[in-house]
């Protein structure tokens, strides 16, 4: 089911949580709403579900205006951040709940068969008689998903689906959700503040800040061609160096970059830890090493330029360097924006 948000807005008391968001989600697409806390992403998700009223604008499911359809008739599957499993019901009863209360009458046998099928889908066969308190966080997450899928929703909505899980479980579940999505092909919208999660899982990433969309596109588009300094900063670790642009060239004090699109004047260069390299002699921005952190795959150097700007970057493990060394930083690639 295709979903279209047409200029929706929402204000809580005097806080404008969502300010005019328009978004098209194609049928079968897996879209991430990514943003820092307070960016309005959860509010948008809850408006799509019908759990919050829309102040302005419309929400369309296909061609139907769903803005004023109540939650219980909207036909969405919602997975809550903390799962919201019914603690007094077994896993099986939790999954069956939606079918039991549905207006479409199903026989007991049909429900039992469907519960078994869903448990197989989420790889939890044999846990039907456990209570939510007797299973792990990752298993609860999967029960919540099975429960949401049981009512054959038109749209699947997930609020910070992996937020409460530890890193390994999270990575596994992410891959697994991706597989389920390609198997079922259900239109899915999920909210996260974790960039890695959004880039890893989604077909398309919608980046939000202060209740507005700042950029949307495939993971490749948003990472390679960020529209703004905010997107660069938000998507991952980055260094910021001030630069001066003159006639299409940016001068960073020891290195220069082509900046054909920028007007003359102050600019900021954003550099990922992997965009920089280090050499003891010649060429580049002079810097002094403050600390070296050894990591499994590389060495992270924490340094400062002569102008006192901090830099963090990664070098291969075999590079010999220690705190107090002086040397030069070379720029492999950078993203330039006019100074804020």
């Amino acid at each position: 089911m295709k979903i279209r948000l047409n200029d929706i807005a929402k204000t809580f008391d005097d806080f404008r949580a969502v300010r005019g968001v328009s978004l098209d989600i194609e049928s079968g697409e897996l879209v991430a709403l990514l943003g820092p806390s307070g960016s309005g992403k959860t509010t948008i998700l809850r408006m799509v579900a019908g759990l919050e009223y829309v102040d302005e604008g419309q929400i369309f499911f296909g061609d139907e205006d769903a803005t004023s359809i109540p939650v219980r008739e909207r036909g969405v599957g919602f997975v809550f951040q903390h799962y919201a499993l019914f603690p007094h019901m077994t896993v099986g009863e939790n999954i069956a709940f939606g079918m039991k209360v549905s207006k479409t009458k199903r026989t007991k046998a049909e429900i039992t068969a469907r519960v078994a099928e869903l448990l197989r889908l989420v790889q939890l066969e044999g846990l039907a008689d456990r209570f939510p308190s007797q299973i792990s966080g990752g298993q609860r997450q999967r029960v919540a998903l099975a429960r949401a899928l049981a009512v054959d929703p038109k749209v699947l909505l997930l609020d910070e689906p992996f937020g409460a899980l530890d890193a390994n479980v999270r990575r596994d579940l992410r891959r697994w959700l991706r597989e389920i999505h390609s198997e079922l092909g259900i239109t899915t919208l999920f909210v996260t503040h974790d960039q890695e999660e959004a880039l890893d899982l989604a077909d398309r990433v919608v980046i939000l800040d202060q209740g507005q969309i700042v950029q949307q596109g495939t993971p490749q588009e948003v990472t390679r061609n960020p529209d703004s300094a905010f997107v660069v900063r938000f998507l991952g670790d980055t260094n910021k160096l001030s630069a001066t642009v003159m006639g299409g060239t940016a001068d960073l004090g020891g290195a220069s970059l082509a900046a054909p699109a920028l007007p003359d004047g102050k600019a900021d260069a954003y550099l990922r830890p992997g965009d920089l390299s280090w050499s003891a002699t010649g060429g580049g921005i002079p810097a002094i090493v403050e600390r070296v952190i050894d990591r499994p795959g590389n060495r992270r150097i924490i340094a400062a330029t002569e102008r006192g700007e901090p830099l963090e970057f990664d070098v291969p493990p075999e590079i010999v360097v220690k705190a107090g060394d002086r040397g030069f930083v070379q720029i492999e690639r950078a993203q330039l924006f006019a100074a804020e």
Partner: protein, 295 residues
Amino acid sequence: MSRQTHTKSPRVGDGALFRRTLIALTLIAGTVLVVAPLAIIAVQAFSRGFEYFAATITDSDTRHAIFLTVVTALIAVPINTIFGVAAAWAVTKFDFWGKRFLIVVIEIPFSISPIVAGVAYLFVYGLQGIFGPMFQDAGIRVLFALPGIVLASMFVTAPFVARELIPLMQAQGRDLEEAATSLGASGFRTFWSVTLPNIKWALLYGVVLCNARVMGEFGAVSVVSGNIRGQTNTLPLHIELLYHDYNTVGAFAAAFILAGLAVVTIIAKVFLERQGAGRRARPTLAAPFVAEKTQ
């Protein structure tokens, strides 16, 4: 567990002297303040033998007082239970203007002396009061009759159920109800199969407290009932009356019955809890789960 050798210093508050002193103090206070007076009631009630006790409590005025107390509880407790659940639901599941004010209003009866409530009812429903003449014309007696007694009891016990439920329901949040609704459940269905099972023990406790207070209420009821022997005397009022009649043993016998009613309520609660716990070992709230890695 085997007895520990005293090689390690005890944890804070775990010293033997501290522990024993604390237990002793609690026991002494409990005995002096709670057990002894109750024991004396029992002893005094039977001080002239069982025959006399039986005669006292089968006295028609006493029987009527017991009857009136039970009837009042049977009306006031269910109404206040419904009110309490509705109020707690409204306060914790919805946001609306004046919510804090509503919470304060619900708690007013806790802080106001029951006598004040009684006098207020006297003013509202009395013959010189606001609604008094209206009810008089309709031929309904509110004051010095059962309706007044029930109303006064309800006023005093209005917060009991709500007060038990509000903190619990606040802690539980709205996620479960939202989940149920998003799965297609109606409001009633959500309440019945999702909210109620998760609040039932707190609700039961609130009902028990409410019942105990309705049966034991003295101040407010004494103002509105008019203390008419055999007609509008509830058990607590009757006890006082007997006492003023210098019928000490009679007073103790009636008090014994009142205490007995309270004990029956508590036994009912324990029994229901056992039933609930025994029939199905369902955790009411998420217990701390045993970490178990997935995959």
